[in-house]
């Protein structure tokens, strides 16, 4: 990656991290495989930012590049407005990261593992006890890492990141393999970290799970940016909300609802899908039941149909003909003009 080339978009001090035109290919037996292709990522400071995409979409590769673990083929990256990996040492103390699974020495105790990391960054030993207590492992610090459950390992990894008291935390698939209680715990932890003023970047392939905790999201597929923004605006791309009503005579119900100013459409057998008509504003379920009851059509069931990130993602990938985790040959890099257009469209 060239350091002298000017970045494609202006550096923004309001961003915790950003990438521009980031590209990474891997050599495989069948030639080169694109992992990340011209990715533009913008993570604002503060809050939880979901970095979403299916397995193999390039999330972990992107995170590894940001952390200096692997080298990009091209593109620029910044962390707290510092170009990385060149100036990563200047900001690394402000970044805590867990890439994929927690990785510690299995034969060492949790405390010894953290003591080594603390020694490397010059943190006092007392900090080790603090962070162990903070993640609820104070009592189990003397146990070997290999004896930990997956949830405990994940908590230990979070404790490791907290040794630095970082402003930015990067969690890569933090809930992989966890039970529901563990997932809930991690979600709560991320939220509380963000509420304490930190920026949390969480990558996941379980989109609905992140939807519950994220303030902003970036969705990628096959290493390319598909959508970004706050959760509400992304969800709006998934279509309008609707209610599905089960009635004895769907055709008659549809007529009544049309006359009442709704936009009904046939749903699964025995049901009608009701949306607000254009210009009607938000759909009101009570208005739907009232309109049907006024003609003596009584509901057997009413279910809200709200778009979620998964639907948005599926809709985006089908639009772009992108599948999940399928390797594809390297296309030629985009001409500079096309790249400039793409940036222009984003900014």
């Amino acid at each position: 990656m060239s350091t002298s080339a000017p970045p494609r978009h202006a550096r923004d001090p309001e961003l915790a991290l950003s990438t521009s035109g980031l590209r990474k290919t891997y050599r495989t037996r069948r030639g080169r495989r694109v992992a990340v292709e011209g990715l533009d990522l913008r993570v604002p400071r503060g809050g939880v930012h979901g970095f979403l995409g299916p397995n193999g979409s390039g999330k972990t590769t992107t995170i590894r590049m940001l952390l200096g673990l692997i080298r990009p083929d091209s593109g620029t990256m910044t962390v707290f407005d510092h170009p990385v990996p060149e100036r990563l040492p200047e900001v690394v103390d402000r970044v805590g990261a867990i890439v994929e699974q927690p990785k510690f020495f299995p034969a060492f105790t949790a405390r010894r593992n953290l003591e080594l990391l603390a020694a490397a960054i010059g943190a006092p030993r007392s900090r080790v006890d603090q962070v162990l207590t903070e993640v609820g492992l104070g009592e189990r610090g003397k146990d070997r890492f290999r004896s930990y459950s997956l949830g405990m390992k994940q908590r230990l990894a979070i404790a490791g990141t907290l040794l630095k008291d970082p402003e930015l935390l990067i969690f890569d698939e933090p809930t992989n393999g966890l039970d529901p209680a563990g997932i809930h715990e991690i979600r709560e932890t991320m939220r509380s970290l963000a509420d304490a003023g930190r920026t949390v970047l969480v990558s996941s392939h379980i989109l609905n799970e992140v939807q519950q905790v994220a303030d902003t999201v970036t969705i990628i597929g096959r290493g390319r940016l598909l959508a970004e923004g706050d959760v509400a605006s992304i969800l709006a791309r998934g279509g309008t909300e609707a209610v599905r009503v089960r009635v004895p005579d769907p055709a008659a119900a549809a007529e009544v609802l049309t006359a009442a100013g709704f936009a009904p459409e046939p749903g699964p057998p025995g049901t009608v899908l009701v949306r607000a008509a254009a210009g009607q504003g938000r759909l009101n379920a009570a208005s739907v039941t009232r309109a049907l009851a006024s003609r003596e059509i009584y509901l057997a069931e009413l279910v809200w149909q709200r778009p979620d990130l998964e639907e948005v993602f599926l809709s985006l990938t089908s639009e772009e003909h992108l599948g999940a985790g399928v390797s594809h040959p390297v296309p030629p890099p985009p001409p500079p003009a096309a790249a400039a257009r793409r940036d222009g469209g984003r900014s």
Partner: protein, 323 residues
């Protein structure tokens, strides 16, 4: 950097393999002392018995030596000296009639301890970095300290210091305990300074072995792959012998560049090796040519090995993706 080296040293000494290796080395030192006890401090009864056996052998040799040499010459021995060498005079040492000198036993001790410590430190060092790749903790480490060269150097320094300590314990414990046994038996510590210097050089070689184990495992990203390298060399070496013993063979120039000869030359301030040249066309007779590898040569050899290993290791580690 000091902070990082300290953290790496803490990890090195906390590892189970390091502790096991240290115990194995100490056990070997103890076993060596037991093994040499009867050599350096034979009891009066053993000495008397040995003296008797020696005198008997001396008498037999005197009776038969002239006949043996004459027969040798008749059967085709080329020179008087050659035939004399086939029937050497017995020595009191052969029969434990006198204690082995400190020089003799100490030299064996230094060599034995050096080779054992070199093997052990190579193994520990390879495992030290191999475990980081195997567990993925190297990636975690780099998220705390992203400066690759700094990380490479700190780990290397820790390995070299740890190996040197192991080597020093192995070599000087062996020498010290041997000296104590010899002195306790009232014998002089012959060439003690020479042996101490040889021990110092052995410690350097143990540190080099540790460094090579570290770099090889770093390049291979696997402990076992690194350990396979010297084993594979051992296999190749057995094949190479056939191509290097003949003074006129295409690979006759190779021995001075092989590690084992340079190890010996560095430890003993020079080493000799033999090559052979056929005298008769059918190869049924040959002459032995003795060649020498100097201490300076071995010093330059090991310095080159270290510089190349460090440069290659650092270069690869700086650029390599760590996942």
């Amino acid at each position: 950097m000091i902070r990082l080296v300290g953290a790496e040293l803490t990890r090195l000494r906390s590892r189970r393999l390091s502790i096991v290796a240290a115990l194995v080395v100490l056990a070997a030192v103890a076993l060596f002392q037991i093994a040499i006890h009867s050599e350096v401090a034979p009891s009066a009864a053993v000495q008397a018995q040995g003296q008797q056996a020696y005198e008997q052998a001396q008498k037999e040799w005197q009776d038969s030596h002239a006949t043996n040499v004459a027969e040798c010459l008749q059967e085709g021995g080329s020179t008087q000296e050659e035939c004399e060498s086939y029937d050497p005079a017995p020595t009191p040492q052969n029969y434990s009639a006198v204690p082995e000198s400190f020089d003799e036993v100490g030299s064996i001790g230094v060599t034995t301890a050096a080779y054992l410590a070199m093997f052990t430190s190579f193994l520990v060092a390879a495992s030290f970095i191999g475990a980081e790749y195997a567990t993925g903790s190297l990636a975690n480490w780099l998220t705390f300290v992203p400066q690759r060269l700094k990380v490479f150097v700190s780990k290397g320094v820790a390995v070299v210091l740890g190996s040197a300590l192991l080597g020093a314990v192995a070599v000087f414990a062996t020498l010290g305990l041997t000296a104590a046994q010899v002195a306790a038996h009232g014998e002089p510590l012959v060439r003690a300074g020479h042996l101490a210097a040889s021990g110092g050089r052995a410690v350097v070689l143990v540190a080099v072995a540790g460094l090579l184990g570290y770099v090889l495992a770093l390049l291979a990203r696997h402990t076992v792959a690194a350990i396979v390298v010297p084993l594979a060399y051992g296999l190749v070496r057995t094949v190479l012998v056939g191509f290097t013993q003949d003074a006129d063979a295409p690979l006759a120039w190779l021995p001075p560049y092989l590690p084992e000869l340079n190890l010996q030359a560095f430890l003993d301030r020079g080493a000799t090796y033999s090559q052979y040249r056929s005298v008769l066309a059918d190869g049924s007779d040959y002459t032995e040519i003795e060649k020498h590898v100097s201490f300076a040569h071995s010093g330059v050899y090991w310095l080159t090995v270290v510089v190349v290993a460090v440069l290659v290791g650092a270069g690869v580690f700086k650029r390599r993706d760590v996942t």
